[in-house]
Amino acid sequence: MKFKFWGVRGSIATPGPNTIKYGGNTTCIEITTDDNDLIILDAGTGIHLIGQELLKQLPISAHIFITHTHWDHIQGLPFFSPIFIPGNDITLYGGLDPVTNEGIERALGVQLQYSYFPIREAELNANIHYNTIKPGESISIGNAKITPILLSHPVLNFGYRIDCDGQSIFFTGDYEPVFNIYDPNDNEYNEYQSFIDVKQAEIILAMKDVDALIIDSSYTSEEYIAKKGWGHGTYDSAINLASMANAKRLFFTHHEPTRTDIQLEHIHKNLVQNNPNINFEMTLAKEGIDILL
């Protein structure tokens, strides 16, 4: 199994001289199994580039797993060229929206409306399939097993664990570790904390022993103080998760949109210095490079 980041940026695409090294597209990860099955995690602007590559090998079969339907994770879908070409098979996977009860078809349907886009969903020429999936229930694609787990974010968000050929990847999508909403003096504090601990244990189990752990690390711990509740994690919370899950390699992604390449590398250098005893490699997610497991 190998994978490649096509989009590493959070919130909004940030092209320009300051992001040229790590990349400015919004979230998209391509996974290719040893049998050449194509799995794509999220469809931010990065998916446009995968689409261009795939035009060289039509017809294609792609399995796109959406962590959640915030724009930066779906906005590339209408620009994923294979959806317009007959003979391609494209399946979109994701969760049910608890508020509207809409399935994952909403990720395309909401964008392919006359007011926002010139082509309607009904006009797409590829075979588009929708598979609204449930947490804990694995999907098989060839030899790969993809398992969603509910992770905390301001909207329903799935983390995905991909197991294939004896290797494994976990991607959080957007994720802020759950914090206690009560003050330590409140009666409810301990009770709430116990619920958090149970959920945390479930998350660690889902990430256990993965070869590559890809985590939303938008903020430094200092920045986080002003961003608590926004739905994103920190470099330190990612390191903590990777340690507890015994991950082999940690990738920081969802780079904060104003973060320059130089700043990213500065942060990374500090993290390496400040965490001398960890037994996994820490890497800044960078667009366009094949990562072999």
Binding site: K134, P135, E188, G229
Partner: protein, 281 residues
Amino acid sequence: MSDTLNEELIAFVEKMPAFPKSVQKVVQLTSDVNTSAKDIVQVIESDPVMTIKILKVINSAFYGLPQKITSIQRSVVHIGLNTIKNLALSIAAIGMLKSNNKADFNTQEFLLHSMTTASLCRILAERTGISKVESSDFFVAGLLHDFGKIVLAEFDPDNFKLALEKSSEQQIPLYITELEFLGTSHAQVGKLLAERWELDQALVTAIDHHHDADNDNLLQDCVFAANQISKKMQFGFAGNPIVEEFPDNIIARFELSLDELIISLGDLSTVKSEALSFINS
């Protein structure tokens, strides 16, 4: 009730609004980006309609949770505060229960009874040694035990009114007169909905059996006792004038009779005042 009527009732409840105060508060709290999470949780936990509808969503098969979720706090941990806020807002968008319904059922008094039973149920659970961590399940069971009444008052107000009147005039339990006029009882209706919505089986059973005390089950015993204490103390009123004395197994459970237990619990006025401060705020 017939199967058709059951389906009608379930569809009716889907569109049933929540209580005015919580609807107002949800709209207010969700318009303020700085709202604290615990305020939202508290509002939802003070409204049986919002609570049961949110538990319905989180316990639906689509979230495939390994175990049933029985409290709003747990729901927030699993599905995130924003989603819970949006769910509450979508319930608020349905409208709000009218204070004057055709059944002449006083919804404010009903709410006070439900909220105080919830608090008392938790107090009783903790008294028997249940940890604070588990006691929120007891709170929810107390809050939802009479949920079927508000449903019947809205769904079939004419017959529910007759049941209320006969219960009051002849001093017989409301669930008996409900059976006479509606062919079902609030306990059965509550069970039907909780079961259909795949809520925790212990909660379904506690709602179903909150008038029978002959089960050796702590949750049911606490709901039964809390309900009688709330009625005896006249914390609100949910239409049933009969306070039932504790049968032997409930006395055995708490090692006290109803009156003795009330005395032993000490000053319960805060249970009422805390609920009232929400309703009247």
